[in-house]
Symmetry: C2
Subunit: 638 residues, 2 copies
Amino acid sequence: MEKYKVKFMPDNREIEVERGTSLLKAASQAGIYIKSSCGGKGTCGACKVILISGEAKSDRTGNLSPEQLSKGVRLGCHTFVEGDLTVEVPQESRLQAHQVLLENGGASLLRETSKDLLDLYGLHPLARKVNIRCSEPSLTDNASDWARLSMELKRVLSDDKPINISLSVLQSLPENLRKANWDLSVTLTDIDSEYTVIRVEPANERPAYGLAIDIGTTTVVVYLVNLDNGEIVDKQGSYNKQAHFGDDVISRIVYAVDSPENLDEMQKAVVETINNLIDDILKRQNLRAQDLASAVVAGNTTMTQLFLGIDPRYIRLEPYIPTVNSTPSVAAKEVGLNMLPDALIHSYPSVASYVGGDIVSGALATDMANSEEIILFIDIGTNGEIVMGNRDWLVSCACSAGPCFEGGGILFGMRAMPGAIERVDINPETLDVKLKVVGNIPPVGICGSGLVDCLAKLRKAGIIDRAGSFHLEHPSASARLRATADDKEFVLAWAHQAGGDKDVVITENDVKNLIRAKGAIYAGIRSLLQAVSLDISMVDRIIIGGGFGNYLDIHDSVQIGLLPDLPPEKFEFIGNSSVKGARIALLSQKAWSEAQELARKMTYIELSIGTTFMDEFVSALFLPHTDLSQFPSVENSF
Amino acid sequence: MEKYKVKFMPDNREIEVERGTSLLKAASQAGIYIKSSCGGKGTCGACKVILISGEAKSDRTGNLSPEQLSKGVRLGCHTFVEGDLTVEVPQESRLQAHQVLLENGGASLLRETSKDLLDLYGLHPLARKVNIRCSEPSLTDNASDWARLSMELKRVLSDDKPINISLSVLQSLPENLRKANWDLSVTLTDIDSEYTVIRVEPANERPAYGLAIDIGTTTVVVYLVNLDNGEIVDKQGSYNKQAHFGDDVISRIVYAVDSPENLDEMQKAVVETINNLIDDILKRQNLRAQDLASAVVAGNTTMTQLFLGIDPRYIRLEPYIPTVNSTPSVAAKEVGLNMLPDALIHSYPSVASYVGGDIVSGALATDMANSEEIILFIDIGTNGEIVMGNRDWLVSCACSAGPCFEGGGILFGMRAMPGAIERVDINPETLDVKLKVVGNIPPVGICGSGLVDCLAKLRKAGIIDRAGSFHLEHPSASARLRATADDKEFVLAWAHQAGGDKDVVITENDVKNLIRAKGAIYAGIRSLLQAVSLDISMVDRIIIGGGFGNYLDIHDSVQIGLLPDLPPEKFEFIGNSSVKGARIALLSQKAWSEAQELARKMTYIELSIGTTFMDEFVSALFLPHTDLSQFPSVENSF
């Protein structure tokens, strides 16, 4: 096979690839991650690159204009290497890694729900470290090394669970015992049925650490947790590198099942994402991979299966069957996580193909399964999942809201990170705009909470009608409101304000996408209420988790019909409930076994059966809703 | 690093190695296995090679004669590549693989002790295959694939043990279920506490198979067993490729602990030995590696630790501590065996550093732990281990007999295979010799049973005295009895009879080695008797297992003082008891748990404590013994 050199600019990074390799793939091999919302189908146009020199062949140009094409702009996914090349990857085509903001704004995260829960469950982590001292062997006391060690462990642990040892620890046990002069720190996994020794080192007072990991479709978050006292020592988040293969779970599945290599590539992408986060945290804390003794992972069903390399094909085909809900615990070395090789990785159980471990984890973090009150838990991530119930019953559903609120499918959409518009004020007379931007820097794009706010304000200012259509003939005659070749848009920030060469805008297409997303979530809530014949007024509390969690404005959300019209005091935020639940399970065997129970107990309502959801969805495609009686508090002024 | 080509003749196999590589190592890399009894120390002279052309440097020549040196003969272990080379590896320097004879001579093996034992324990193998039919999923019956499969398995297996599934089977489960149209054959490991699914395939009537494996220091034997009915389907044995690193466990340990790479090399050598045997058997039986669902391995403590890659260093250093006696079960993929990747490999537990799993396995095969009679079980392999007792008590010891009876340390020593002298008759007048050779072909060497016979006949003919010294002034003046430069020897077969260019002889050095070996075993028996204050007459039965098992002549053995002077009807042979015990455990969970109990129950007597063994050993360095009253039946004619 012929090989050619491809140089990526402005990185000035050069690699060699086989003739016919797509530029998307080549960039990935060079460690440059390009957005690919549609998963390489050539439809989304997110993977634009610019040919500087050399030969490449494109078999699809999507919606690129002749002008763009003449400037060398190509779709990375459908342009293939035919000779030595130099390619520019513009900033907007890149996945921004290591930049995810972790709940450092909202006050509510300080409530630390999970702290209270830990008091409730008690500290009994899934791995632990104990210090012991063994007697030295002699001709008359010639028990084997392992017999000696395990007898002393049995004494110190003083319970009846069998104690095992991993082969790799056993292989080097003799030297490690003697180097430590029989004075030892022993790290063990501690699960329901057994202990397993996974590390033996000279006695020391350093704690064992664990990881709580939230694998979101868009974002991955890792907490480093001290297993001795339960404290969160550090945290870090970044984009999920799988985004390179598509924005949503469906495009990921389509890509993954194309060949066994693709599934493997997808598995490695998320593992690499997590390992990069681990490496950063370890460096910062001056720790080593061997200090990481356990992990609990929470992700939706597709993310969990992809993380474990399990064929996800039937998740997307009717009747939507996951391979497994109760995933087996696996060793770190089996999946490639940079931890103690025999550390156990526990994945939160799923309920169904579209109500995954992240929701079970979140539900655990809300403690709703022990509540007398009826709780409605809404997790707005790339999908939108809803759980309702109390200690007697739990129902759940998924409503395919799409990734809008995480910035996906929105022209200037982005995650809540520095540069993201999080609040929008529009003067209804002049259409002048005031923005609040994360980090108080020039705006780059707009995040979920900003989008909700923007939608409410666009409506309030009369820029859009109840169906989301733009009214270009607005009396203000502001230059901000304008038509483009194929859309209408409103300028939130002029290019010179944004510090770039483009105006930051919201388009009619964005607005329609947002209405579909909010409509899906509201329809999901309504469908769940109908499934159990409850009125919304009977719900005692609404807990909101997920990507934009703490930043969301309740008033705005009700105005646009995303959330039901209930008194503000019934709402609360829990932030990233998925990683919170993962931490609790990591620290408490009782919580972990309750999580299994919770997953079994949660009744899944499949919204695609019957017409309820579709009827509700269509009714919800207005601002706030077709049936205004459901939103009595919404101002009727417009 | 400079690299050079080394060509091996007459194989005409060429490889490239780094400058300074020993010819021993280079040959191994070329797949040519050279004997190295001393483990590469340059003392045994077994690894002779002949330089044909090119440059090599020797830093040691051992006992090579100037004449040999001038002919290009070198020690492979201490000759290093300095340029392109051509090297001849003579036949006598090669390990002969795949030629080990499996008990196809003795009638006693037809007794099939293990068959009776299986009746006793009942068939309940450590892995099994079941056929099930699952219902297809639908929108209203949307349990996960694994939930569907495990529920049906639970119904069919109808017991309460948890059912797990290996990650690798889970990864491809969805396609496998649907390709089979939900009509399935499921292979499971079935151990004490749980089932684990290790294979899912379309329904069929083929059985699952298991392997019973005896890892001897010298020889490795594999039985293929049908797990449905317990039948031995095929068997094969070969030399242990570790022999390349030394004949006995001590030289193996010395080599293995020199560096982590060496330990790894040693582990791979035995795995490669087993895999070659597996491949031959699979080919012959038209099976695939995936059909192999379980294995039970029996080996001495060092062999077991090396097989699992466990540092064996402290086995050879006082106080002789093994790393582990109860070795954990491991997956085939963890050690590299060519089976179902998640098939469990169970290793027989050891008692101490020098009473290993092979002895526990053998003791199980004798059923002595359930016997009312007192049984003395002697396993004569590369070491010599002894177990004595009945259902109430068991004691054991190891007596470092060395590998003589397997052909090691004997000039023309060899295993019982075609060409091995197994019976010797010497006319006391003329010293004419009559031989019985395995396979009725010209003699190549002499095996264990032949050596015992030879020793008795040499003594009877007055060729050697009670201490084993040669009497060159024998009245017959036969040319067979002669002195060489540094030894004395007796010709068993002339070169022209042997079809080679060398006379087949037994030397005084061989005889002394044999006396030490038989003395060690007899001293071990005596020490064990003293440890429990029993007289030999109180032993009801003596069971002999191990390498030369069935071929041994009881009369000869008593004549030379290898076995105690008891009536012949008290003796019986069990053959390779180690592989027999492995098969029973493979087929019966009850037997396998009894094996663990047996290992715990067996009291180990360390012969190096106190002077009993040494005193007994010194007394036993005569034919038959210093104390003739212990051998009343031995003819006093000489």
